[in-house]
Amino acid sequence: MKVKMLSRNPDNYVRETKLDLQRVPRNYDPTLHPFEVPREYVRALNATKLERVFAKPFLASLDGHRDGVNCLAKHPKSLATVLSGACDGEVRIWNLTKRKCIRTIQAHEGFVRGICTRFCGTSFFTVGDDKTVKQWKMDGPGYGEEEEPLHTILGKTVYTGIDHHWKDPAFATCGQQVDIWDEQRTSPICSMTWGFDSINSVKFNPIETFLLGSCASDRNIVLYDMRQATPLKKVILDMRTNTICWNPMEAFIFTAANEDYNLYTFDMRALDTPVMVHMDHVSAVLDVDYCPTGKEFVSASFDKSIRIFPVDKSRSREVYHTRRMQHVICVCWTADSRYIMCGSDEMNIRLWKAHASEKLGVLASRERAAQDYNRKLKEKFQHYPQIRRIACHRHLPKSIYSQIQEQRVMREARRRKELNRRKHSKPGSVPVVSERKKHVLAVVK
């Protein structure tokens, strides 16, 4: 007679090592696990609450400058190194892991207007109010050596900005005109002008490296082609643009930080309409920097706050401020996309987390799974009023808060006026202009 026995495969219930978790057989029968939506809703609510509870983005303040920090630059090869230039002509190199200044250079007389690192990370360039461009070695001088620049170029006019090419030994400065320099020469290999006003900043495109963008004080943004040595197109906005930043993942997208409290994301090929208008600041936006993943950017404003915007959203997802932080002049997003640095008027550089409630350090796999799940839950239930209320809640300093209220009233009044005008005039004589088109005055070919 054949005896049939019940048998189980040990693989199903024996764990491989002692450290493994015990296997728990699960029955996924939906009748055994009722109330999916309410349970997940509660989980999402809890996750949102915890996110707000753990939102402590401020990490460190690097103090040492004796004047307002005017420019920041990140090291292309080392995550821990950051360079900053101050308004008194001092350049400092910081180590972020130690949170200490590792080198101080008195680079210029007057402001350090711009600072940029070479793509290989061995040297960096500074421009100052003293009409000089200086190249410095990244490593400090040996014992007994004096702190001296590698090269110094004396120009005819003041340089207001500098950026280095992403691949070639060339850099661009701006001032009266945009100059492109070969590192080996003391005169620019080409200089491009379009208009007569002074140019605030110049930025190389990180992907199509021959492209440059600059913004001038006559309210325009000009694009250049370095290889053909010609400007390409000019867009005039209704207020001055302070700086631009190219998207590191999308070659034709750049964002402009404008004096009219807004940021404009443009597609380079269609300048007449910005892709997105980002509005949340209540004062002039002074600097902008993209996250290396190209999904978000951070903006620094005169209203003593920095904000993080998703590229495809017109509203910010995060605002950082502290009581001591004054007008933020420069900002940069670190190359690992986890941290944000900002330099402000009151001589400090601050280090923030890019995601306020993110846990730093190594995560266990279960922890990571839980984090992913919570993130997904928050995303899934983000439209629910209770959850949105908690997730969107931010504390703001009174000045910013009241400014926001004021501006809302102003905007509402303007809108109402326009509506009334439209109502009381001949139909079609007061056309509806979309928010995106409103701010672009003209595109010059």
Binding site: D182, P292, T293, S337, A369
Partner: protein, 758 residues
């Protein structure tokens, strides 16, 4: 002004065309092309000069052409040089030689065209030119940028993006390189190495030794396929036979086994015959085997009724018929096995046959004598058959057969019998199955059908048993030929076939009228069909069955008719709604009738009253309630049966304020529920969120859970993959053309810039 603009446009077009021509080149080099002209050959220069001079002939030229001077002042007859002499070239001089030859007609034409042409337009002003340059450059740049479109789109829509984008190159050296550099040193190592290399063990990726490769090559694909198919067939056959053997093994019937055994023996005999004809040597060997078996049997006491079992049986034999039979079987077997096999030549056959008869007869006699039971049917049959054999022997043609199986007729008959029996078994099995099916179908099928089904089965069983009895009779009498039985079996089969659809219909439940009708039709047709076997009239058992079936069918029909009658009574009223008829009286009557019907149907419930009641309740429920704060026993006597006084109650009753008027106050037929659950509303989404186009879509996404409580681990992981993954401590560099498979321009931007300065 307009003319100037036109000129500018024309020039721009020209430049655009130029740029389009140069699209394939990395950069336009029109600034360079002008300077390169200097390096051209002499002839070309002269040609140029000629053209210039021709151009200068036109008096309307506004500016002077720059004249080029040559180093030498010599004027040869081959060169056209206007310098030195100061004289001007006249077109007529040039044309003089042309007049003579007709082959230069083309040149002439060109010259005439040149003559007719007006002056070259003014060059554009600097700003215009720059604008054009900018436009061209911009177009070019946007073209180069548009190659990023698909990548950007892909990245924007990607489910997951992992940064940094570039793949890290592994530093590990492939293992074969490590192997090749390694060399054995110790003797043991060398030995192992030699062994390994003798087999030519492969080190690189396709893990096949040269031998394996050779073997692979040796067998072509088709061959391999054929072989595989063969193997498959063999395997299938094997499994089939195994299953069959198992099934047969399970059959407990002794009779069946006996028959099978006999069949086998017969088959063996036939085979032997064939073997004898084809290959006598092998046959002799076979014979020897049989002989050996005989010897073994003679040596052993196995079938001699001397064992323990046989002795016990012998004791019982007196009273038990079976025991007796068993003993006899044993002996018969012994006899069979010990019988001498004789291969007989054709001439000797008769004598041997006679000898055998002599041999055979005494044995039988002995056996009979031993048990002294003449009434034993087994023995009787044996005797009979033997006798038959004796009778028929002389008539048979001589055959080289083993004598034991010489009774051919005897063998044939059981063969036929065996087939019939096998078929019977088959039938029984199918019957059993059907009865099982019936039992399964019972709860589904209607009562009547079930009854008829069971009856059918019963009748079938009866028929079979009867038939078996008949068969026994036949076998004893040996009157009916095998053909007849086969016919009967066939008939049986056809009867079975006719019954099958009835059985199949059962599991379906009739729910609608149409279904019922269908069933009725089928029933009717079956009833028509059924008489056929009755007409043939070979089975009387079926008749009562059919008769029972037929009245039932009629009953069904009657029922159906009743239903239809009902329908017909209703149908006119339905029609009256659709088709207005002229005769109103009829209509009225019908209406009355209908109303009556409705009244009868809904006699119990008054809908309007119910609704009013419901509304009243709703209104009451929505009204704010008075609060009674009276405490019994305070300020007066208390106890069981005592109620607080009306005065007190009035005093402590807080009247609720009148609520706002109900929205359905003036709508008698409507109840508007004004109660909205505020607590639930706080957690509900009020407007459809942006990416969704329909509320159902949104609801669906909310209703699909993503947690591990409801999903398997794998699904959970898939559902919760983050959009962007970054590695901590890794620098994310901007996207590069090489990362996404594009080739970036080999020339550096700087060198290009230096090559065309401004």
């Amino acid at each position: 002004m307009q003319a100037a603009e036109m000129n500018a446009i024309r020039a721009a077009e020209g430049l655009l065309a130029l740029s389009q021509q140069e699209e394939l080149v990395d950069l336009p080099n029109y600034p360079m092309s002008a300077s390169e002209d200097e390096g051209d050959s002499d002839g070309e220069r002269k040609h140029q000069k000629l053209l210039e001079s021709i151009g200068s002939l036109n008096g309307k030229n506004r500016w002077k052409l720059a004249e080029r001077s040559e180093a030498s002042l010599k004027v040869s007859e081959f060169n056209v040089s206007s310098e030195g002499s100061g004289e001007k070239l006249v077109l007529s001089d040039l044309l003089e030689p042309v007049k003579t030859s007709s082959s230069l007609a083309a040149v002439k034409k060109q010259l005439s065209r040149v003559k007719s042409k007006k002056a070259v337009e003014l060059p554009l002003d600097k700003e215009e030119v720059e604008r054009i340059h900018r436009e061209i450059a911009f177009n070019k740049t946007s073209q180069t940028l548009s190659k990023w479109d698909p990548i950007v789109l892909k990245n924007r829509q990607a489910e997951q993006l992992v940064f940094p984008l570039e793949k890290e190159q592994s530093d590990s050296v492939p293992i074969e390189h490590v192997f090749s550099s390694w060399k054995p040193r110790t003797p043991l190592e060398q030995e192992v190495f030699n062994l390994l290399h003798k087999n030519k063990q492969p080190v690189t990726d396709p893990l096949l030794t040269p031998m394996e490769k050779a073997s692979l090559k040796a067998m072509s694909l088709e061959e391999a396929k054929m072989r595989r198919a063969e193997l498959q067939r063999a395997r299938a056959l094997q499994s089939y036979y195994e299953a069959r053997a198992r099934r047969e093994k399970k059959i407990k019937s002794k009779k069946y086994h006996k028959i099978v055994k006999k069949g086998k023996a017969k088959k063996a005999l036939k085979e032997f015959e064939q073997l004898w004809k084809v290959n006598p040597v092998a046959a002799i060997k076979e014979l020897e085997k049989i002989e050996k078996a005989r010897m073994m049997e003679r040596m052993s006491l196995k079938h001699q009724n001397s064992g323990k079992w046989a002795k016990s049986k012998a004791i019982m034999a007196k009273y038990d018929l079976e025991a007796r039979q068993a003993m006899q079987e044993q002996l018969a077997k012994n006899k069979e096995l010990t019988q001498k096999l004789q291969v007989v030549s054709e001439s000797e056959e008769e004598e041997k046959g006679a000898e055998e008869e002599e041999l055979l007869v005494p044995d039988v006699v002995n056996e009979v004598q031993m048990f002294a039971d003449g009434s034993n049917p087994w023995m009787l049959r044996n005797c009979n058959s033997d006798a038959k054999g004796e009778i028929q022997k002389p008539e048979q043609p001589p055959e080289p057969v083993v004598q034991e199986f010489s009774e051919s007729e005897e063998d044939e008959r059981p063969g036929a019998e065996e087939e019939i029996l096998l078929q019977e078994f088959e039938e029984r099995r199918s019957l059993r199955k059907r009865s099982e099916l019936n039992q399964n179908a019972e709860p589904v099928g209607s009562q009547e059908t079930k009854d008829s089904g069971t009856q059918e089965v019963l009748s079938e069983l009866k028929a079979l048993t009867q038939k078996l009895k008949q068969k026994k009779h036949q076998s004893s009498k040996q009157k009916v030929s095998s053909g007849g039985t086969i016919l009967q079996v066939q008939r049986e089969e056809c009867a079975l076939e006719e019954e099958e659809p009835l059985l199949l219909q059962r599991p379906e439940r009739a729910q609608t009228l149409e279904d019922l009708e269908d069933i009725a039709h089928e029933k009717y047709s079956q009833n028509k069909e059924l008489p056929r076997p009755v007409l043939k009239g070979d089975r009387t058992e079926r008749n009562p069955n059919n008769q029972t079936d037929a009245p039932k069918g009629k009953k069904k029909k009657e029922q159906m008719i009743d239903l239809q009658n009902l329908l017909t009574t209703k149908s006119p009223s339905v029609k009256s709604l659709a088709v207005p008829t002229a005769i109103e009286e009829l209509e009225d009557e019908e209406e009355k009738h209908q109303k009556q019907i409705i009244k009868e149907a809904f006699a119990g419930d008054d809908v309007i009253k119910d609704f009013l009641k419901e509304k009243k309740e709703a209104v009451e429920a929505s009204k704010p309630k008075d609060v009674d704060l009276t405490l019994p026993g305070w300020g007066e006597w208390g106890g069981i049966g005592l109620k607080p006084s009306a005065k007190k109650r009035r005093r402590f009753l807080i009247k609720a304020p009148k609520g706002p008027p109900r929205k359905d106050k003036n709508l008698p037929n409507v109840i508007i529920n004004e109660k909205r659950n505020i607590h639930a509303a706080a957690h509900q989404v009020r407007v459809l969120p942006y990416p969704f186009t329909h509320h159902k879509q949104f609801e669906r996404t909310i209703q699909t859970p993503i947690g591990s409580t409801w999903n398997t681990q794998r699904a959970f992981q898939k559902l919760t993959t983050p959009r962007v993954v970054t590695k901590p401590g890794h620098i994310i560099k901007p996207i590069k053309a090489e990362d996404v498979g594009y080739s970036s321009s080999s020339r550096s931007d700087l060198s290009v810039t230096q090559s065309n300065p401004k």
